[in-house]
Symmetry: C2
Subunit: 267 residues, 2 copies
């Protein structure tokens, strides 16, 4: 059985792409043409996947969009469909809790939803992440330096050692915590200096870099600073909502092609 | 419309109780007698609620147990049933994400599940919590110092200011972040010295204190150190799984009565 990192590398090479499309599918933004469909959310995702599966390294559904409206079945079907098209799936869930509860969250991600990788939150410490890390073939993406402005509030606090909190997490994640070699990090594409800093600490570790597109990250600076290890570059709204009309899938493909090209120009 | 803090105070006074029962309902631990029920999870919770609703200040379902197996409907029905019995519900979800996603998580907790309060994770900063804080009548419980051993890994790091990370969060949560006066903190009952420390920082702020029962917190020391503000004292497994036989509800009641009495002896 292949690990997540093998799956994503293989898909990335086949499609000559580091792009990951975020499936943040909001029922209010689904084009009119699908509104009377029996499962508009799945149908929207299926059309996006059909239009882009040769352009990406993975898909990243954000579970909150499905959880808010009870669309777990649409999420399951979307993940299954991405797999059918040969693309691995990283479930963006940012879970974290005490051990007995973390086991249930891991079961949710890897059992119920059959995700190949998941994002988790490190604030509760190693024992809150262990149940995820025990899935040795999955990719476990720990939040390190997130793309939102408020990411500074806690992550950039300076410790008495001189390290920032996010640097300390990068260090632990690439050494002591990474016994199963299945850890990757979430590093906001919007913070180029911090990408370079985290790359220095972690060597060739895989990064998920969200923030391209609607959040406005500079692709050139991100690419320059992220070199030296794996990169999954995520864009959601700027691609899936490139058009709100019946040409949404075609326009999503165009946007994905442009983003992939811009990334590849800077590789 | 009453706020969560008013609801929980009222229920706490009526029942002379600071006890919150955690509904961490695991299908593998539901007694044989309910296994052929059409909805064993809801039926289990309903019997626990029937047996204890005069002994608690609120209920705290842990969403991971329901999410792992697609039992969201059982969770909805359980929350509705607790409300029918006059008891407010704190949904333990520990969510946290960028603003547009946080809105969806808040919709999940307060819209889909009709919870009165929710736990959230502060690692991504204030803008990741704002969508929750905007629900001014709800209780927003921010993780400060959690009950698990690994809680020290990040939360107890010492900053260059001399403050620990959890102390910094306690300070922000009780001042700058608390514009809507709806923040409360999660403070592990297993860490008495740290409860006192956080109480000093936050004044009379409400604390959720998990860790009594299966996690082994000392109730006397917790009570001594938590005085001076609101306390919601949570026990889950030690109460709901007090018996694995057909007398489970009766034994849950006995365990809840004992825990309430032990808490009240120390008030």
């Amino acid at each position: 059985m292949s690990t997540f990192f093998e799956l994503v590398d293989s898909c990335s090479q086949k499609n000559n792409s580091l792009l990951c499309i975020g499936l943040d599918t909001d029922p209010d933004r689904i084009p009119q043409i699908l509104q009377n469909d029996p499962d508009p959310i799945f149908s929207f995702n299926r059309e996006i996947i059909d239009a882009t599966s040769d352009l990406v390294s993975c898909y990243k559904p954000q579970i909150a969009y499905y959880g808010a409206i009870g669309a777990e079945e649409s999420l399951q079907k979307s993940i299954e469909y991405a797999h059918k098209k040969g693309v691995p799936v990283l479930l963006d869930a940012k879970r974290g809790d005490i051990g007995s509860t973390a086991e249930k969250y891991a079961e949710e991600a890897f059992g119920r939803f059959s995700a190949d990788a998941v994002t988790i939150n490190p604030y509760m410490g190693l024992d809150s992440m262990q149940a995820f890390l025990d899935y040795t073939d999955k990719g476990i993406f720990i939040l390190c330096r997130t793309s939102n402005p408020g990411g500074t509030d806690i992550q950039n606090l300076v410790l008495e050692s001189g390290q920032k909190v996010y640097e300390h997490i990068a260090e632990l994640a690439s050494t002591k915590w990474n016994k199963n070699k299945n850890i990757a990090l979430v590093v906001g594409a919007t913070r180029p200096e911090e990408i370079a800093d985290i790359r220095d600490i972690t060597g060739n570790m895989m990064f998920l870099l969200p923030g391209v597109g609607a959040q406005g990250a500079d692709i050139g600076r991100m690419m320059e600073n992220g070199q030296g290890g794996g990169m999954i570059i995520s864009s959601s709204r700027a691609i899936i909502y490139a058009s709100s009309q019946s040409d949404f899938a075609e326009q999503a493909r165009n946007a994905a092609q442009q983003t992939r090209a811009e990334i590849n120009q800077n590789r």
